[in-house]
Point group: C2
Chain length 419, copies 2
């Protein structure tokens, strides 16, 4: 009936969406598989966790995104493994999906580095449900503190955030939420008793930025009351405290673990060579060695630059990798050889809060403060998928900005991590 | 320190909020207790379940609503009972809260009438979490139908809705969602195979409306493909079917039980006389007999009209009751006697879908079609709490209207009712 080739893409993150989109005009059938029926705009998960945005504003139904792409179909399902001989994806629900080309783009998952207690007690922040759970947990602690103020002395309003760029954004957002919004929600509570601790193993935050911008970000965190603990690592976590390297103990019921990631658990099911951090080994064209027609991109892949250094696990690497791989499939279909993937780093940005961000572009341009924050807002609005999402996010951000109020602070579907 | 009287209000529904607000200038301390930290705009829950609105758009943090009311405080907690002797509310978390005046406004909960299988297999629609669960369940069935079309013959795209006004609105919204939105999401699926069945025990729908409007609503349902089964009741429910009175069996995995309600389970813990449907018996002033200073309002109370008929369990009865009770407390404080509560019925409205609604006002005005639908939209926007919520809801409704698209169709936190 149909001798078109089938391209299967695993994962509807930035990489998977970009790959499917880039294949819109290719003479292939595209099947995108994801365990969720929606794409998660991961860079803004921390804003869901801090009640600045609704889950639905950073999630977008995959089928809706591709309404207009006729060679596209979606399959919701969890991948159990790949039968390389039969060229089939095995799904948890028993189904099998045949492919001619395969793009592995399942992303990353939280890495707890086997630190005692962390997997059990820390809150990860990689999925929508984790963000909503964290929001509920934080709100619930404030309700508890209002009802039983004696618990504040036992640390229920201490929030410990692991380092890394997401940790910096999370710490800034938390502190701002507490002081600008929750202060008004809990007039009887002394909000200065809420402590935000940013634990960073290195001697500086935001390694992707230059010294001046790091200092600027650090000052912005200090100004917001965030206690930045440099050269410290989490040694152990328990139900009501965290112990740092050096022995400092912080009483807390909230350790936010946005620090570590490793390749999606799928990578360990594939029988493919992995690097440290469970990233699938790829060649310079992002092909998986010895598996013709199989590619890996984004957080799940060990993409390297010309010097052999692993590329960072960020959206831009996934998106550019996706477009490269789509182009390679186009070339293979007409018998052309593979090209080397060249990553163009557009630069980095991070926001610490209201009117405060740092931007460092590849062309050397650096921005701080209000201008950087506007640039950050603008870029994230552009990248958000769907006009309605953009409009709602714009309204919510404007509302938050003008009123110091935040609507979606609902305690929903609370699944306790502890008793 | 303070010899002001304390008014405790249980429940942050329409009645509880209105009572707290009406006491803003009274020389009392108001404590509002709810198990959730937010108010749920229940009349629009069915729109969350059908992915027209986000949960955060019809939920509003209680503390935020009362930022400007200095005699107000909020306590999140589940009420275990009332110690009438000590005049104390007992909370599940062990705390006790003393009151001088008490307003019982905990609302209603789903009533399954002991019909075999219904409590186990039907989906209730009284809380935000139930609405999100139902949305996830429906979306999941469509994903299943797309992957395994053979299941359609076994009824996974049949949706059975219990009667009552919410059932009418739900059936219309479901059918429209399927035909206007999901048809595009699932181009390979024959959406006409999705069946919506409205099961109504009486020989007509919408008893609050006159014959002409009922006929209009019925025609609007038929036009949308809803199969209305009059004079039928659910006899039994199972994991994959529902059996109606008369023996008709409809294969389905989705029975939406918006039909029956009874007083909140709290009413059974109070040791107070109850009517059928677990509503607290009140006198003509909404006072609980033999309990001076204790009132019950809204869905939880057996409010009667002058003819001794029970008032309907709708928002307006709760709101007017709340204002009446707040006025009585004001009067008691200055030694005046109680007044009789007089309910003024403003009329009824129900929407069946796009451009289709019926409105019947107390002054005799009747509206149908587009005008009625606009009136319905306008009124619900006015009653929604919070300017931001209104703006977001307006955008989402406009977006839905213009594009036949709906954003929040995410499968979140799916808690299966079945295996």
């Amino acid at each position: 009936m149909n001798n078109r080739r089938t391209v299967v893409i695993i994962g509807a993150g930035f990489g998977g969406l970009a790959a499917a989109r880039a294949l819109a005009r290719a003479p292939v059938d595209v099947i995108l598989i994801d365990r969720n029926n929606y794409h998660t705009f991961q860079p803004l998960l921390y804003q869901v966790a801090t009640a600045a945005l609704d889950p639905e504003e950073i999630g977008n139904a995959v089928r809706g995104i591709f309404h207009d792409q006729s060679n596209f179909s979606f399959r919701m399902g969890t991948v159990n493994g790949v039968d390389w001989g039969k060229q089939q994806i095995q799904l948890e629900d028993g189904d099998a999906i045949r492919f001619d080309y395969l793009i592995l783009s399942a992303g990353a998952e939280t890495h707890y580095y086997d630190i005692p207690g962390v997997a059990q007690y820390a809150f990860p922040l990689k999925s929508m449900e984790e963000a909503v759970d964290l929001r509920s947990h934080i709100m619930h602690l404030f309700e508890k503190a209002a009802a039983f103020p004696e618990l504040i002395g036992r640390g229920i309003l201490n929030f410990v955030v692991g380092g890394g760029p997401t940790g910096v954004e999370m710490a800034g957002a938390l502190s701002e939420w507490f002081h600008a919004v929750l202060r008004k929600d809990y007039p009887d509570l002394d909000i200065t008793q809420a402590g935000v601790f940013l634990v960073e193993a290195q001697d500086h935050i935001l390694p992707a930025f230059d010294k001046q911008l790091r200092a600027n970000a650090l000052a912005a965190l200090h100004k917001r009351g965030v206690q930045v603990l440099l050269n410290k690592a989490v040694a152990t976590a328990s139900v009501d405290s965290v112990t740092l390297s050096g022995g400092t103990v912080i009483p807390t019921q909230t350790i936010i673990w946005s620090a570590g990631i490793k390749g999606n658990s799928l990578s360990r099911l594939l029988g493919l060579p992995l690097t440290r951090g469970d990233r699938v080994v790829v060649d310079a064209a992002l092909s998986v060695p010895d598996h013709p027609g199989v590619f890996a991109i984004g957080d799940m892949a060990a993409c390297q630059d010309a010097q052999g250094r692993l590329l960072p696990q960020v959206a831009q690497v996934a998106i550019q990798g996706a477009r490269h791989v789509a182009r390679q499939i186009d070339r293979f279909l007409i018998g052309q050889p593979a090209e080397t993937f060249v990553y163009r780093d557009p630069g980095s940005m991070a926001t610490i809060g209201r009117n405060a961000a740092v931007v460092q572009l590849a062309n050397g341009l650096k921005l701080t403060g209000f201008i950087a924050w506007l640039a950050w807002l603008f870029l994230h609005l552009i990248y958000l998928i769907g006009f309605r999402n953009r409009l709602n996010v714009l309204i919510n951000w404007t509302w938050n900005y003008l009123t110091y109020d935040r609507s979606p602070r609902l305690i929903l579907n609370h699944r306790w991590k502890r008793g």
